[in-house]
């Protein structure tokens, strides 16, 4: 059980900090409300369906999602390598470098061909 203690402590610390921040901000912060403040945060979408043919998301969100998922999921291979990095030694390092080179090639391709321009 004691191996989980650090995780538990970390959880308690995080929760405590969140609670502390909210409470202290509510007590000490100035209270000025305006329209911009009540909007969704800048990277979010409006929480209610927008009048775009029955609540469809614009297609460009799918592009962002595709780029995200491909680079995000590929990194799953780093976890087993990171856990066993000492035992895997040079062989593992070289294999991982080859793998990352391939990912960088794909990234360079996406960047050069305008896949990261979302407007």
């Amino acid at each position: 059980m004691n191996v989980y203690t650090p995780i538990l402590v970390l959880g308690i610390l995080a929760f405590g900090f969140a609670l502390f921040s909210v409470v202290v901000a509510g007590i000490t912060g100035p209270k000025r409300y305006n329209r911009a403040r009540l909007d969704a945060y800048e990277c979010g979408i409006q929480p209610t369906p927008q009048p775009m043919g029955g609540g469809r998301f614009p297609v460009k969100y799918y592009l962002v999602a595709m780029s995200f998922i491909i680079f995000d999921i590929e990194l799953v291979f780093l976890y087993p390598w990171a856990v066993m990095v000492d035992d895997l030694g040079l062989f593992g390092l070289v294999a991982m470098l080859v793998f990352l080179t391939n990912l960088i090639v794909v990234y360079a391709y996406e960047w050069a061909r305008g896949g990261l321009e979302w407007d």
Partner: protein, 520 residues
């Protein structure tokens, strides 16, 4: 300190990698990655030439490495995941030859007033101003090349996979680029995109079946390795549920790629909708890869269970041939007709697979070589016959082609005769081989069905030949494009192979039978 990790050996053992034996696969996949770099760094104007060089160079180098593989390198390599053996090398050679011919056709630029057969950017809206601007500037689609190379790399892996995981990965590496390639046609793009979507949805459905079947076999045998699965079938009775479910689902996934009935529904739609050079590539090379993997799985991993799958496969083979030819007779579009004919050929090829003998193995491999090259040639000819709005798909517009362009019609007639299996063409030698192997294995009734199917198939192949040579050209007679050296070379190779394998087949028959059996 408490250890969370599962108990394991103190020192890890690394798999030894036999780079020489794996060289063809590594070269093709390396060329594909290089192709992506080229896409990123080389400016639009120079990209096509560079990609063409990378693609053809990569494929040719890989072919040289396959042919020159020394006998001492043969064996099960890379920690037991790949089997570089006689059949594997023969199939890799076939795939590379077919792929090179197909890539020459893909490179053809005279088929359309605007250039090659592909949309400048597959993602642009069809007919939009953006697309017209791209066409006006003469942009060409160059992503075709790396995508094709990835597909070829997957195929080379697929026919040598000796492990359920590699089998699944190779299947996906082969299929994912093909789904995209199917949707890139310049003309009739809506049709093309629709074909891509159908191919994608049905293809991933089939690979999910293959994966679940692999999971069941893994549960039964306790290993992913084909040899270990074969041992389990021999030594470990019981758990019939896992055996049968695993075998059925894995077989269904593989038969889908091979386009056998009842998993053939995608073939006509995808063959018709995809850009014709890609259709030739798919019909030729994918067929080789699918049957190569099917042969290895059935002979090596599931050989001990032959009594379980053989009866079902006899039925599937017979039904596939008959359904394929009957549907081909009823279709009026040339690409659909060739697609149904490819379904029928899947049935003939299955006769060799189900024979489950050395003769069946070598006959199937010879058939794949003959069929792959003939098919690439046939689709290349289809690409060249064009009406005002793209290819002249409907059979009626092929009327009288023998009078207006006798050489092209003659070449096409040769390909059709080979597909029908007329003597002195490669198709006859190939069919004879699989029929003999099937009879030897006791499949008299399936061979009778095959002979009936061949007779029916001769009807619709000859119908096209008669139409070309003995009918008058209609008012909407298509124009025949005079191809550049690229397509001419590809068609020439196909013609030579079709005749050579028909008239002097012995050297190639010996090569195929000398390549057997599978190593495990």
């Amino acid at each position: 300190m408490v250890h969370l990790a599962v108990p394991m050996a103190e020192t890890l053992t690394f798999p030894s990698l036999q780079y020489r034996a794996m060289a063809p696969i590594l070269i093709v996949l390396g060329a594909a990655v290089l192709g992506v770099v080229v896409e990123a760094l080389v400016p639009q104007a120079a990209r096509r030439a560079v990609q063409l060089a990378v693609t053809l160079g990569g494929l040719a180098t890989a072919l040289v490495f396959v042919v020159a593989t020394p006998g001492s390198e043969l064996g099960v390599v890379a920690g037991g995941t790949l089997a570089i053996d006689g059949p594997g090398l023969f199939l890799q050679m076939t795939i590379l030859v077919v792929a090179i011919a197909a890539m020459l056709v893909v490179a053809e630029r005279r088929v359309d007033p605007a250039g090659d057969a592909f949309a400048p950017r597959a993602s642009s809206l069809v007919g939009s101003g953006e697309e017209q601007e791209q066409t006006r500037r003469g942009w060409s689609q160059t992503e075709v090349w790396p995508l094709s190379l990835f597909a070829v790399g997957g195929m080379l892996l697929f026919v040598t996979a000796n492990d359920l995981l590699i089998l699944f990965l190779a299947l996906e590496v082969m299929s994912l680029p093909l789904y995209l390639l199917a949707g890139m046609a310049r003309r009739r793009r809506l049709l093309s995109q629709e074909a891509a979507m159908k191919y994608f949805l049905l293809g991933s459905f089939a690979s999910a079946f293959l994966l679940y079947g692999s999971a069941m076999l893994f549960g039964y045998a306790g290993s992913l390795d084909f040899a270990a699965i074969a041992d389990a079938f021999r030594d470990k009775p019981g758990q019939l549920g896992l055996q049968v479910i695993g075998l059925t689902l894995l077989g269904a996934g593989l038969l889908f790629k091979a386009a056998a009935v009842p998993f053939h529904m995608w073939a006509p739609d995808v063959y018709q909708g995809a850009p014709t050079p890609i259709t030739g590539f798919m019909a030729g090379a994918v067929k080789v890869a699918a049957f190569g993997a099917l042969l290895r799985v059935m002979y090596v991993a599931l050989g001990g269970a032959a009594w379980e799958w053989q009866p079902a496969f006899w039925v599937i083979a017979s039904v596939t041939m008959l359904v394929g030819v009957v549907l081909a007779v009823t279709s009026s579009d040339i690409k659909r007709m060739l697609a149904y004919s490819s379904v029928a050929h899947a049935g003939f090829l299955l006769l060799g697979v189900v024979a489950f003998s050395t003769a069946g193995l070598s006959a199937t491999m010879f058939y794949l070589l003959a069929y792959g090259l003939t098919t690439v040639g046939a689709f290349a000819v289809v690409m060249l016959v064009r009406g005002p709005s793209g290819e002249a798909g409907h059979l009626s517009s092929w009327a009288g082609l023998g009078r207006t362009s006798p050489v092209l019609a003659g070449v096409f007639a040769l390909f059709l005769l080979a597909l029908a299996g007329i003597p002195l063409t490669s198709g006859f030698t190939a069919k004879f081989g699989v029929f003999a192997a099937a009879i030897e294995a006791g499949g008299v009734w399936p061979v009778i069905a095959a002979v009936v199917a061949s007779a029916i198939s001769a009807f619709f192949y000859l119908k096209v030949i008669v139409l070309m040579f003995f009918a008058r050209p209609g008012p909407d007679a298509p124009a025949v494009v005079v191809p550049s050296l690229l397509t001419t070379t590809a068609i020439g190779v196909a013609v030579v192979a079709t005749l050579l394998l028909g008239v002097f087949p012995q050297a190639f028959l010996d090569l195929a039978s000398g390549s057997t059996p599978f190593l495990r």
